[in-house]
Symmetry: D3
Subunit: 63 residues, 6 copies
């Protein structure tokens, strides 16, 4: 039954995101013993200019 919201900087490939959604879904199922049908996982992306870590913009940390 968990509803999982992943906040993340945009830029990952479809393949990476699919693998992440698969892995998170399986981790929920295995740890809680809930049926797959009850699990929802989604990604809310934002720009690397819209994320600040430790007082620094994410876009600048990557350089």
């Amino acid at each position: 039954m968990p509803l999982v919201e992943i906040h993340m900087v945009e830029g990952r490939t479809e393949k990476q995101k699919k693998a992440m959604l698969d892995g998170v879904t399986e981790a929920i199922r295995d740890s809680l013993g809930v049926p797959l049908t009850s699990i929802r996982v989604w990604i809310q992306e934002f720009s690397s200019k819209d994320f600040m870590i430790a007082g620094e913009l994410y876009i600048n940390r990557k350089e």
Copy 2:
């Protein structure tokens, strides 16, 4: 005073989204008896490739 966040796959028309925001606002007002001025409702959209239901990508379920 409720703050309502609607997570949804992108692709609905403006008309549908307006009707949804209207309906949710009215449902909150009528059930709680709060003034319209205190209600906020917003939509956070994501791609159908970024949403997994029951272990399957939403984009594939629609085919």
Copy 3:
């Protein structure tokens, strides 16, 4: 398919919250034309000391 998260100060009765969840669910179904089975709505409550509106704590506004 929408996933609706309602942020709200605690203190409403079970009956009020049930009416609100019913009303929001119906508003989503009617405006988007999606099946009831695809809709999820939940309430995340917080203390009236943990909410600031217009620069004032909510608990103080109610006095």
Copy 4:
């Protein structure tokens, strides 16, 4: 770097929740190839009376 918010009905044991947090963290690390240090996962719980699935309160579905 993902920030993962898990919305879930209260009532799981500490052990189950720890296993879930471990599993989700590992799934993120393995799928995206990001360092463990960049990952945050947290649980926001709510009452089974505050969650409606498919037009029915969760607390009633479990009976």
Copy 5:
């Protein structure tokens, strides 16, 4: 350690958003006395057509 999610209508300049992220990060550090390294702040934007205040679309209020 706080994780701060700012929901906001799109359209602000990069400079304004950077100033906001800076200001919020500093406010958290100063009020709680936590190290900068533990703070995360991000912006989730949405369209002015996807936000309803007091029963009115935000895009219409601005006219």
Copy 6:
């Protein structure tokens, strides 16, 4: 108009949380130039057992 959701481990004093809400509200007002009346800030707390940083439970990191 921003809606600010602060995810945080429970345990801070009322005074600290009030200072944080004040500071964040002012930072938003000053950086964006929006009126105080349009700003909402709230805290969603969770247990230190429900938060994992870098693969470790927060409750264990503090020891």
